[in-house]
């Protein structure tokens, strides 16, 4: 920056001094009072916000607790189901039975109940029913 006085800087300084001369700042007591009031208001808003958050959280927790599902009874050991007796004599023309027998694979059937050509058939495994002997 050069040492020569900058006319533009001088103009700005004069304008600023003009604003200072004409300024009428409010009394400091007025500023302090408004500042205290603003501070109290901010505190009150903060406290209200905290209370609101706590109340909302409490209400949510209460509603969650009140809507808790009914207590589930303890699991019991299921009683053993009676074994399903296997049919003694089944012919292929009888078609598939309504309920599949565990351990037995039924081949896909046609609409008339006959086996599809070329479909491998599985022979029913021999099954021994406990207590049947």
């Amino acid at each position: 920056m050069s040492d020569a006085p900058d006319p533009l800087r001088s103009l700005f300084q004069q304008a600023g001094q003009d604003g200072v001369r004409r300024a009428r700042p409010a009394p400091v007591a007025h500023i302090a009072e408004r500042g205290r009031h603003r501070h109290r208001r901010r505190l009150a808003v903060a406290v209200a916000g905290l209370c609101l958050a706590a109340g909302t959280g409490g209400a949510a927790a209460l509603s969650l607790l009140s809507q808790a599902p009914a207590p589930v009874p303890p699991a019991v050991v299921p009683s053993p189901a009676p074994p399903v007796p296997l049919p003694q004599d089944r012919s292929p023309s009888q078609g598939p039975t309504d309920a599949p027998v565990p351990g037995r694979t039924s081949p896909p059937a046609t609409t008339d109940g006959s086996m599809l050509p070329g479909t491998p058939t599985t022979s029913p495994p021999t099954r021994t029913t406990p207590g049947a002997a």
């Binding site: 900058d6 004069q14 304008a15 004409r22 408004r34």
Partner: protein, 175 residues
Amino acid sequence: MKQETRESTLTVEEFEDFYAQKAAALTGQLYVMLGDLQEAQYVVQEAFVKGWSRRRQLDRDGHPEAWIRTVAWRLAVSRWRGRRRTADAWRRRGAPPAQVPEPGPEQVVLVDALRELPAQQRRTLTLHYLCDLTVEQIAHEAGLSLSTVKTHLARGRTALARHLRDFHFEEGPVV
């Protein structure tokens, strides 16, 4: 640590001293930035009110004057859309004293010329030529890059040169 925090906080008395020393100067600076003395007084006063409840933040920044100036500027910017409210507020408060001296013709021409410039150019020029801030300080306070500040200064000075030709103002180097 707690002791350091306490010491870095402005007391009420210190804040009142700060207000007594700087309120008028800040009003003058905002007057040049805004081109409206009443608006400048209003925003500076509101910035001090806000600063009273944030004295800790004021002092922690280390530049309470810059903090007040920035808050006042932002408030003025946010009020530009509702300038009519300012006139209403000052009507309620009462007209300024009649013995206030009128500004000289040069100040009027400068403030009028500044009103023609974009807001950031006015602010940048005022911070540089009235508040004596460097380009780096202006960039920090206004949140602008160094190149943007230099551009504002150059363009603002060129624009002012056109308006102030009658006052033998020559366009010169920026910094």
